[in-house]
């Protein structure tokens, strides 16, 4: 089984601030880490490999320092690493990101199974997985909460659909976006970290891709444009209601209706 896991480097804290003057995110001094949801995807890959054998590749698209999350994946037991990196890829939205990743995947090998996390803690869209699958023309499932059966040409999984669990069979090659709690991720091992510290990470740049048209990547390849970012409104609202029980009940009922709870 050839498994690919997509992982992203995100800021260590999501308590980011907006510079009130320039309106851009203050990223200075913020440490990076692996997107926590991707740990579950890595763990899923490791469990499947324990059953079926094969190899696991971790892939990330990002600046050079994003190689750090590949090292972390190595310390968890991942075999190979791919970093898709080029200045031309900067400023990408989901469409451009998923296209770049799909191009990088095609370049790096062939896989039976591609695993993604549920979402990231920065962009937070949960859209990259399904878009990568579309670019590759393979089926995909999201909200995967359990792997039930691994067959020769397909696998059976459970999906958490809020009010129900759906059990589905999906043919390889396919992409799964796994939920948090599918498995408990193992901690990186110090021994593995030492063993793999010189392991090569393959770097893929625009020049290596099948499609080298710059317009398809980065900001130029992104249909969405972030116009401005701003802090959310804080709820400083405070109202004191005095009165008879019946009056308070009436006001409370109207408020619950207004807030769409009743």
């Amino acid at each position: 089984m050839n498994i690919l896991v997509c992982i992203k480097q995100v800021p260590d804290s999501n308590k980011v601030e907006v510079d009130p003057v320039t309106g851009v995110l203050k990223r200075n001094g913020v440490e990076s880490k692996m997107n926590p949801y991707d740990l579950y995807a890595i763990e899923t890959a490791l469990r499947i490999k324990e059953k079926l054998g094969g190899s696991i590749t971790a892939l990330t698209m990002g600046p050079n320092q994003a190689a750090g999350v590949i090292r972390e994946a190595f310390a968890m037991g991942v075999d190979h690493g791919v970093l898709i990196s080029d200045r031309k890829f900067g400023g990408a939205d989901v469409l451009a990101t998923s296209y770049t990743i799909s191009q990088g995947i095609k370049k790096s090998g062939t896989y039976d199974l591609i695993l993604c996390g549920k979402q990231t803690t920065d962009g937070d869209t949960a859209q990259v997985g399904p878009e990568v699958a579309e670019w590759l023309g393979i089926p995909s499932l999201s909200n995967v909460s359990k792997v039930t059966e691994l067959k020769a040409g397909s696998m059976v999984v459970e999906m958490d659909m809020t009010h129900e669990i759906e059990i589905a069979e999906i043919e390889y090659p396919c992409l799964l976006a796994v939920d948090k709690d599918i498995f408990i991720p193992r901690l990186p091992s110090f021994v593995k970290k030492q063993e793999t510290k010189d392991r090569e990470i393959r770097v893929i740049t625009l020049a290596d891709l099948e499609d080298r048209e710059e317009k398809h990547y980065g900001l130029n390849g992104s249909p969405t444009q972030v116009q401005r970012i701003f802090p959310p409104e804080v709820n400083n609202h405070r109202e004191v209601w005095n009165g008879e029980g019946s009056e308070l009940t009436g006001r409370l009922l109207s408020k619950l209706k207004e807030l769409k709870f009743a």
Binding site: Q127, E166, T224, Q227, F230, G245, L256, A262
Partner: protein
């Protein structure tokens, strides 16, 4: 680093008309987010003088699609095929693509449900267009550009996003973010039956089974919490708070003394030595509001506190402070909510 954008070929925006809403349903039962999106679509469409469309895919959905005509949708496009029986990514994307190619809506709104959250990106990539996730505010410019505002970084940042050079513009919106319009008695608009060749609807996924889920029992996972404090006189009285919680789609929680009395399990205790919760709505009943308690709930979106002591510290944390006796409020509130439910059902 400065990213310089090159001139992009302009899309002919006049060729794209109408705001389309994806009808999210399971076995014909329409998810209420659909009506909320229709309400928003109508408001946006009015500003630019466009029609409102709904697109529904499924099997044996004849009567359900007629229901949509009570919400002032101009046209309902229906793909009724055996292959579209349950949501499956590939056939649903195919039928949706067929709709977009033929109708060319300027914008598509979809619920951020488990289905919408995977169907929308798949379709967006197929159409090579932009998709903005989990929008909380939507507006539209005169030139038909959709102004999309959404939270990111776990809600710590808001971003305003445009899709200026691509059509259709796509956005997902969570349930209970927009307002649902009233249902009109009279039906208006038309239903258009669309056909697509079954050969186009193959799928590499087969749904084997669907199991109803047990209700989530963790208070951390609940969007609504009703909290019992020591103002509750006897254990039996918890029943009314449980009932209220259920009516609001939530769960009961408690303060430490209520847990220590053995009235509720430890996993329902909110606070420093209990659970930290951040629901959309929390109603505290007879809770004084010690710092150890508020530390576990002060990030809740809407805090409503009922306490008969106007100086109770909980009122410093609450957004709505009801100074009164909970026994004069809760039982009446329950009967009024129930009465309201029977009227609208």
């Amino acid at each position: 680093i400065e990213y310089v954008e090159e001139a992009v070929e302009a899309v002919d925006k006049d060729k794209w008309k109408g705001i389309a809403v994806y009808v999210d349903h399971i076995d014909g039962v329409i998810h209420p987010v659909t009506y909320e999106l229709i309400g928003k679509a109508r408001e946006l469409a009015k500003k630019i003088n466009h029609p409102v469309y709904a697109i529904m895919m499924g099997h044996h959905i004849g009567s359900q699609c007629e229901e949509l005509l009570h919400y002032e949708v101009d046209k309902v496009f229906v793909y009724d095929k055996e292959e579209l029986d349950r949501f499956k990514m590939e056939p649903y994307t195919k039928a949706f693509e067929d709709f977009v190619e033929n109708i060319k809506p300027t914008a598509i709104l979809m619920g951020a449900t488990p289905v919408g959250r995977q169907l929308a990106p798949r379709l967006a990539a197929r159409l090579k267009t932009g998709l903005t996730a989990d929008c909380t505010i939507l507006d539209i410019n005169e030139n038909t550009d959709l102004v999309q505002i959404r939270p990111a970084f776990g809600g710590n940042i808001m971003a305003q996003i445009l899709t200026p050079n691509h059509r259709p513009q796509m956005a997902t919106v969570r349930y209970k973010v927009m307002d649902a319009p009233e249902r009109k008695d009279a039906a208006q608009g038309e239903i258009i039956r669309c056909n697509i060749d079954s050969k186009e609807l193959a799928s590499k996924v087969s749904v084997l089974d669907i199991i109803a889920k047990e209700k989530e029992q963790f208070i951390e996972a609940s969007e609504v919490l009703v909290v019992a404090g020591r103002g509750i006189k006897k254990e039996e009285d918890l029943a009314m708070l449980k009932e209220l919680a259920e009516l609001l789609g939530g769960q009961i929680a408690c303060t430490r003394p209520v847990m220590e009395a053995g009235w509720l399990e430890a996993k329902r205790q909110v606070g420093l030595s209990g659970r930290t919760v951040r629901p959309k709505l929390i109603i505290t009943c007879g809770v004084s509001g010690s710092v150890q308690f508020t530390a576990g709930m002060n990030n809740s979106e809407q805090i409503i506190a009922i306490n008969k002591d106007e100086n109770a510290p909980i009122f410093k944390a609450a957004h709505y402070c009801l100074v009164g006796d909970l026994y004069d409020i809760i039982p009446n509130l329950i009967s009024q909510i129930k009465a309201g439910k029977t009227v609208s059902a």
